[in-house]
Every structure is written in structure tokens, then in C-alpha cells.
Symmetry: none
Subunit: 304 residues, 2 copies
């Protein structure tokens, strides 16, 4: 700050008023705020402010620790001690991003939707979820374009062309294919009408085993990644209702690989082998966001 070209630059957060916390990631030590800033013209303007603690640097940490910093004891049990440490300012910068004036679109972009755990019984599926899927016009035209080679045919890594038990293996949009550390491919079945995990029975075991086995072989051949380095799973709910399987690098914490959304294909195959109607009869647990229509349907039915 200071005099520049004759005018005094206003503080970027002058008169800051908090409107809401858009998102708060405890794991990543990052917080996203919506506020208003009042600049020199006295007109409040919307702003998005993102604060992120900076990562540690080993040298600075070592210098800190060797000088016996003040530690406040929180708990001690056997060989384990937990303390609070107040470090010097240079270890503690916060990266601060200010977007101002921010539009409605900026604000929505960073808004974390509330999320809720749903326990969907067999009856809930029939009464709420299935009618929702059937009345919504989810377009899977882009999937059919891939299967019919009308789009992305040059991206196909492997295909089993059988119309009942075959599939296409293709890199996911999220993966730039430049490094295998975040490898992400999708196996899309040729057969139409299998909406999700809920539709799978012993009729689909050959298809599932083909995707599992041939998908692993194709990835080894093309990318040199062995099956013991792959996480192979389905999502429930899926983001589109045409059966597909995710293949991701085991070391990559891909979004959607947590236990409340992902189902390992090896488990799915085992469960169907021991009970052909496992996925029709089981209560399945998943997460819905505040703005999802399906959550509204569950609420209207008084089920959550």
C-alpha cells in the first residue's frame, strides 16, 4: 500500500463484512469466504476471499524445532504426546486470494453444498430413486457416441465389441494422460439399459468379469501398470445411468473413491456370486448434495 500516481490505494479488504463461509476444508487448511468490501467510493462490492495456509518447508521446521520452541501440552499417554506450538510469523503465512468485484457465478463456484448420507432401502429404490431416474431425461447420448465411434474413437484404449458382454475402455476426461500417477480410465459396457449397481444380477457376471479382467490386461499392456496398483470400482449413485466402471491409480486419491460412494468391482462380483439379488435387496448408503433433485424426492417422501 501507499501513495501511487497521486492516489492512496485502498486496502483490498477495506471495510470487510462477512456474508457467508462458502467452504471450509479442515483437511486442506483452506477456507472460502463470501464478503463485501467497501472501497473508496463507499459502494459495497461482493468479494470472494480464499485463505490457505502454506505448506511446511523442512529447513524452516528444523530451525524451529532445534531451538526448543514453547510447547503447550494437550495430552500425554505412554510414548505419545500432543502439544500446541506457536511458531514465528515466517512459518505461518497465509496465501490470500481476493476476487473483487465477484459475480454470482464466482460465489456459486466456491459454494460447498451441504451433503447428507442416505440409506436407500430396497423399497426406497423402487418408490423414490427408480421413478426419479425414469422421469429425469438424463442424456447419455455422449456415451452412445463413444460406443458407436461417432466421437472420441481415437481415444479408445481397448474394446471388447460383444454387444452383451463387451465394453469400451477410454481415458476419463479428468486425466490428461501425461503421467500414470493419476491414471483414470472408464470401462463403458456396450449393453444398454443397465442403469446402475441396483440393476446388476448374476445375468451380468460375464460382463463384469470381462471388464475386470480385460480392463486390467489392457492397462498393463498400454501403460505398464500392474493390477496391484489399480483401484477398480463403480459409483453408486453414478453420475450417469449407463453402467460404467472406474479404473484409477491406487496411489491417486481420485475424487469419488471414498467408501460412501465407491464399490470395488471385486466385491460386487463376489456379492452377486453368493447372492444373485444382493444389489436389489440391500440397503445402499450414499451421499446427496443439498441441490440434488433426488434429495428433494427423499425429503418429500419423509425418508430423510
Amino acid at each position: 500500500n501507499g501513495a501511487e500516481g497521486g492516489t492512496i490505494a485502498a486496502h483490498p479488504l477495506s471495510g470487510f463484512e462477512l456474508k457467508s463461509v462458502l467452504r471450509d476444508s479442515a483437511r486442506e487448511k483452506t477456507i472460502f469466504l463470501h464478503g463485501q468490501v467497501t472501497n473508496v467510493s463507499q459502494v459495497p462490492e461482493d468479494a470472494v476471499v480464499i485463505l490457505e495456509k502454506i505448506p511446511f518447508q523442512a529447513d524452516a521446521v528444523f530451525n524451529l524445532l532445534k531451538n526448543e520452541p514453547k510447547l503447550k501440552l494437550q495430552l500425554k499417554n505412554d510414548i505419545y504426546g500432543v502439544y500446541h506450538l506457536s511458531p514465528p510469523p515466517e512459518l505461518n503465512e497465509i496465501k490470500t486470494t481476493v476476487i473483487c468485484p465477484a459475480t454470482e457465478k464466482h460465489i456459486k463456484k466456491y459454494l460447498q453444498q451441504e451433503i447428507y448420507l442416505i440409506n436407500e432401502t430396497e423399497e426406497d429404490y423402487k418408490a423414490i430413486t427408480l421413478p426419479f431416474i425414469e422421469t429425469q431425461s438424463f442424456s447419455v447420448q455422449w456415451v452412445y457416441n463413444i460406443l458407436e465411434k461417432k466421437a472420441e474413437s481415437d481415444r479408445i484404449v481397448y474394446e471388447n465389441p460383444d454387444s452383451v458382454n463387451g465394453f469400451v475402455l477410454i481415458p476419463d476426461f479428468k486425466w490428461n494422460q501425461k503421467q500414470v500417477e493419476d491414471l483414470y480410465l472408464i470401462g463403458i459396457c456396450h449393453q444398454r439399459g443397465i442403469r446402475s449397481l441396483r440393476d446388476l444380477t448374476s445375468d451380468h457376471l460375464t460382463l463384469l468379469k470381462n471388464i475386470f479382467q480385460e480392463g486390467k490386461e489392457a492397462i498393463l499392456k498400454r501403460y505398464g501398470i500392474h493390477e496391484n496398483k489399480l483401484r477398480i470400482y463403480l459409483h453408486y449413485q453414478p453420475s450417469y445411468y449407463h453402467l460404467h466402471v472406474h479404473f484409477t491409480a491406487l496411489g491417486h486419491e481420485a475424487p469419488g473413491c471414498s467408501v460412501e460412494r465407491a464399490h470395488l468391482l471385486s466385491d460386487v462380483i463376489q456379492n452377486i456370486e453368493s447372492n444373485p439379488n444382493y444389489y436389489q435387496t440391500r440397503t445402499l448408503t450414499y451421499v446427496l448434495r443439498e441441490d440434488e433433485v433426488l434429495l428433494k424426492k427423499f425429503r418429500e417422501s419423509g425418508m430423510c
Copy 2:
């Protein structure tokens, strides 16, 4: 620190010397160090030191921003500005965990390693995993200290004292209890000898349902967090072989909640209800690190 019983307590990091950085997570603002501490007896002891920046708290952040904190401009482009902010000490604590004296196993636990997917059949469990668990002397003394109120008794959130079907609910070490966004509690069963998921049969349904139901109720009562905001699960492999259940905030991507390690307690209960020997007979998939003895055992058996 200070005088206690006539002796002066040494600084927990007295004479700290850094041996190596075991892991450094820029995303999570956490660093894991291996060092040596020289205590009063002048014998250097191995220590693992974990530093983790604390998450933001919205109130404290708002107080900071409205008082026009000093911002150092890094870059400005159109409506986007990036600054460095040096906040006051109270926003900046570092949670410091010291494990001392640390064994080779502690040091290895935090060292970043290659990881491999294991498909453990019923036979593999009996021939490889179970003998491994039985011959290793994993100390769960700290667990018994909690159950017997010899340590951390003031931290207990809830207890069902029944020796067969009861448990203790306690905040996990990873959670500082200051904000519910990263809520993390552990339900530890009173009954001894239940090593893991593999031991669970219909004999344990009452215990499991107690943990599920009473754990949810206790968390609602103490923290105001409803069950549809909780992820409740077991790990397989667990990090210690005394049955325990993880309760984490649904919006918090806690480490170890991915599909290759976590098993939702609601699924576990359902699976045992439909097949009392589900977890004895099923092939279970999990991840092992390069340095784990169990991986070596699988390799020696030619199973991976």
C-alpha cells in the same frame, strides 16, 4: 513444563536433531519427521515428530479480516489478487505430536512407501495374515489404558460399560476438537480378543449395533451432529488389532476413508445378518505398503 516432584521436566524436543523427512503433504499442510531427542540422561532417543497446521475457524478469520490485516501483494490480474498475510499467533497454532522413544515400526509407519493392492482370500487369511498377527507383538497397552481409565479418562465422550457388548467413545488423536468440520472419534469395544473385521460373526451383532446406535446418539448430544452427517466405518487392515470403529464428519475426507480400506458399519451389520460367516469366507481387498512385514509374508507365499 516446570518443577514437579522435585525434578525439572525436560523439553520434549530437547537437543532435537533431524534425521530425515518421512513424509511431507503440501495438500494437508502436514510434515512427518524422524529425529533424535537428547533427554536429561544424555542418551539420544529416536522420535517421530508430526507437525500439522490447524484448520481455520470462521470467527477468528472474520475478526482478522475486518481489521485490515497487513497484506503483501504477490500478483494482481483484473479482478484477481493474491497476497501474503501474516496472521496473529492465535490463528496459527501448529498441532505437534511427539512419539518418543519411537521404535523402528513407528518410523516406518510414517515413511511414504510404495503401495500394493492385496486380495486376501479366506485361505490367505488363515495361512498368512492370522499367523502374522499372532506372532507380532503389537502392543495395545494404550487401548487398555483407555478402557481401564488409566489414561485419557477425562476425554471419554460416552461409555457403555458392558464388558461384552459395551464400548468407549473417545476423540481420535487426529482431531483437536475445536471445530466439528473434521470431527473424528473412535469407538473402542470393551471386549478383548476381537482382532478385526475377520473375527466378526453374528455373535457380535449386539456389540456392533450398540456402537452404531449409541455412538450416533452420543455424537448428536455432545456435538449436535446428526447421523446423516457421519461416516461410520471400520478399517481392514486396522492399524491395531483390537476392534474399533471410526466416526468422522461426512464432509471431511479423513485419511483411510477410501474404498480399499474402509468398511461402512451399516454394510458390515447387513452382511453379517445375511451371512453370519461373511467376513470369514470373503476375499477382502486392501492395501499394503512396501515396508510392511505382512506384504513380505504374502510375497514369500507367492500370493502377490
